[in-house]
């Protein structure tokens, strides 16, 4: 257990007691968070759309999420007659479990995490891409053309966006000199978003695509695929897919807060509160984007990943590497302006260079 270093010395019981207790607390905490996030998203998007959002169930509609959960859970679970039954059953589980496992290494405050892996961020990058297998299984086993199209898009997108995502993470790792999530936070005397504006942008966009948030929400593009990969799911299996979406959004907000916004660090307030404030701020941006912009097309999404994000991420990595080599004792704060300037120049240059998407195909 030498890599699990965060067990307090006076903790009663052994490793497993600690592990079980903490995992239970985490599970409850995350699920409560999800209910809050779903409520918030519906209210905030309601405000964006000049309507009220849920406000009838309980005070301010706070119980709406619970009412909906009960309603969906009580629905009949239907298995498509010509679907692949075993795969159909397994898919939500395979999508659900990794989405939850990501939270094991999120530092909610100093040392408050289930397992302080010394390869924490690598673990996240590895685990989070397992979910897409569940999505593909769901799309395939439903024996539905809409869900198959959604699943095809899922695979294409996740494979493409993993690379810029990984490269953006790598530049953060270069700055902090560690793969451990907690060490990344403690090394941020200045939040990395200032040193890594371009890295932040790339990470944010690529992660939005990974978790299928707008404007990259092609897998469940309701205007053409109705509901995408989970079109045939109902009842508790649908709930699992629905939860996976919010798990992933929450996980992404947590990772952005940890990697770029200096995690739980902040003056005055307790660390957990700082962390939650940052998480909600990131989630608010996600909601904002979702309620504002139209959706991209599949070829444009792929073009965006390979023509824009990948080269930009490589250049960003190169510049970060140079800066780390030049100032091994820590990058001076003046470089913040230089990095913002580099970001502006790169974005302007790239947006002139290429055209996203292939347009019409002769058939």
């Amino acid at each position: 257990m030498n890599h699990i270093s965060a067990i307090p010395a006076d903790w009663p019981g052994g490793f497993w007691a600690h592990f079980g207790t903490f995992a239970g607390i985490l599970l409850v905490f995350i699920i409560v968070m999800i209910i809050v996030l779903i409520y918030l998203e519906r209210r905030v998007i309601g405000r964006f759309q000049s309507r009220l959002g849920p406000n009838r169930t309980g005070p301010f509609g706070l119980l709406q999420g619970i009412a909906d959960a009960i309603k969906i859970l009580l629905k009949e679970g239907i298995t498509p007659a010509k679907g692949d039954k075993l795969v159909y059953w397994l898919a939500p589980i395979i999508a659900f479990v990794p989405a939850f496992m990501v939270f094991a290494v999120i530092p909610f405050q100093d040392g408050a995490l289930l397992a302080d892996l010394n390869v924490g961020i690598l673990y996240i990058a590895a685990i989070s891409s397992v979910s897409v297998i569940g999505v593909f299984m769901a799309g395939w086993s439903s024996n539905n053309k809409y869900s198959l199209l959604g699943a095809m898009r899922a695979i294409a997108m996740v494979v493409s966006y993993e690379i810029p995502l990984g490269l953006a993470i790598l530049s953060v790792v270069l700055l902090s000199g560690s793969l451990s999530m907690n060490t990344i936070v403690t090394s941020q005397n200045i939040p990395f978003i200032l040193f890594q504006p371009l890295g932040f942008l790339i990470f944010f966009l690529a992660a939005s695509a990974e978790i299928n948030r707008a404007p990259f929400d092609l897998l469940e593009a309701e205007s053409e695929l109705v509901a995408g990969y989970h079109i045939e799911y109902s009842g508790s299996k649908f709930v699992m897919f629905y939860m996976v979406e919010y798990f992933e959004s929450l996980a992404m907000s947590c990772i952005v807060a940890t990697l770029f916004l200096s995690g739980w660090r902040g003056p005055g307030l307790p660390p957990v509160l700082w962390f939650l404030i940052k998480v909600f701020a990131v989630f608010f941006v996600l909601m904002w984007v979702r309620s504002t912009v139209p959706r991209l097309r599949i070829d444009q999404i792929m073009g965006f990943a390979w023509k824009f994000l990948l080269p930009a991420a490589l250049i960003n990595l190169l510049i970060t590497g140079l800066q780390v080599v030049l100032w091994p004792e820590g990058i001076p704060w003046q470089m913040i302006f230089a990095n913002f300037a580099i970001m502006g120049v790169l974005i302007l240059l790239w947006s002139r260079l290429f055209k996203v998407g292939v347009g019409r195909v002769e058939v």
């Binding site: 000049s50 205007s223 053409e224 109705v226 309620s291 959706r295 347009g359």
Partner: protein, 367 residues
């Protein structure tokens, strides 16, 4: 080694969130690319043309509400124009002005709905839609004041309109005009220059000038292809000759042009309403018409520039109280003719956007 692939058929509709009703497209896809499109319609067929043959001329007006339920006022007007032509019935001045005001308000309401759902089809998650819906609601409230209905207005009558407008209507309309000019600009700014909207609609689903004319498209779909054809100018019916307004046209005929033309038409409609309000004369709103109209045997064709295109009613009378035959030239159906040519070669996602940009209403397509 190349992987063997084969095209597959996907059935979009009649129950689908973005086919605007019960329209159905049988798409043959090669991966994501549409290689063939087969439109299927008729799910909402109610036999309206046949129904009219068993009713008196006045009883047909409420049926026309059910044609294009997104713009019933225009349907009413086109029908009563045809009957007035057939039976040579005069219309009082004030009624003519009221008709123009209602029809132009209806055009704004219809275009708000069309643009809102086009942006929704692009994937803008209901936000523009809800904003447009909010403004459409105030137009519906105005109609509610004059005829007590919010969807099927049944306001026009043969030889006029059913009621004069109440006092508060003119006041409310005045306020609405002031507000709407500002809101059209706001909606235009909301997404018109958005990079994602531009790459999703610019150059997508091009309808060439030649094809547009050959498929006898009309309305914003035709004008977006660069043809300056508006029945209000080409064959001024009612009192349209008295108003100053422009006919906006596009250049390429892509989805973006159709979007722009609709936004611009809303501005022009506001201009017309303003002028009509200034010139609105006092007086009667309905001329004396016998309850059972018996036009002399003959035929008449009344057509207007409805929000969706050229809406025409062709009436044949045999001298009895009911028409011998009524044929409706539904613009939405005819605009669909070129759908296949516009969609082929684009992705599935574009098929939805192109369909949204045509602005169909199944009540009119299927009749």
């Amino acid at each position: 080694m190349a992987i063997r692939t084969e095209p597959f058929v996907i059935n979009m509709g009649p129950q689908h969130p973005s086919t605007h009703g019960v329209f159905r497209m049988r798409l043959t896809l090669d991966g994501e690319v549409v290689v063939n499109l087969e439109p299927v319609f008729g799910y909402l067929h109610r036999g309206i043309e046949k129904l009219t043959e068993g009713r008196t001329y006045a009883q047909i007006i409420p049926i026309t509400d059910r044609l294009d339920y997104a713009s019933p006022m225009s349907n009413n007007l086109a029908y009563v124009l045809a009957v007035e032509k057939l039976a040579e019935i005069p219309v009082p001045e004030r009624a003519e002005y009221l008709r123009v005001i209602m029809v132009e308000l209806q055009r704004i309401a219809n275009h708000l709905l069309a643009v809102g759902s086009l942006l929704n089809d692009c994937g803008a998650y209901f936000t523009p839609f809800m904003y447009m819906w909010r403004e459409r609601e105030s137009i519906v409230d105005l109609f509610d004041m004059v005829c007590g209905q919010r969807l099927t207005y049944n306001y026009m009558r043969i030889g006029g309109v059913s009621h004069d407008v109440p006092e508060r209507f003119l006041w409310a309309l005045d306020k609405f005009i002031g507000r709407m000019a500002f809101f059209i600009d706001e909606y235009d700014e909301l997404l018109a220059e958005n990079e994602i909207l531009l790459i999703r609609t610019k150059g997508v689903g091009i309808l060439s000038k030649e094809l547009a004319i050959n498929s006898s498209a009309s309305g914003p779909v035709l004008r977006a292809s660069g043809v300056k054809w508006d029945i209000r100018k080409a064959d001024p019916y009612s009192i349209y000759g008295r108003f100053q307004f422009d006919v906006p046209t596009g250049t390429t005929g892509d989805c973006y042009d159709r979007y722009r033309v609709r936004i611009e038409e809303m501005r022009q409609s506001l201009r017309i309403i303003k002028q009509a309000l200034q010139q609105l004369p006092p007086g009667e709103v309905k001329s004396e018409v016998p309850p059972l109209l018996r036009p002399a045997p003959g035929e008449a064709y009344g057509h207007i520039e409805s929000p969706k295109g050229e809406l025409g009613f062709y009436l044949v009378s045999d001298g009895s109280i009911a028409p011998y035959r009524l044929h409706i030239r539904a613009p939405a159906l005819i605009n669909l003719t070129a759908l296949r040519d516009m969609v082929i070669g684009w992705k599935v996602q574009d098929a939805v956007v192109v369909l949204g940009s045509i602005d169909i209403c199944l009540g009119e397509v299927d009749r």
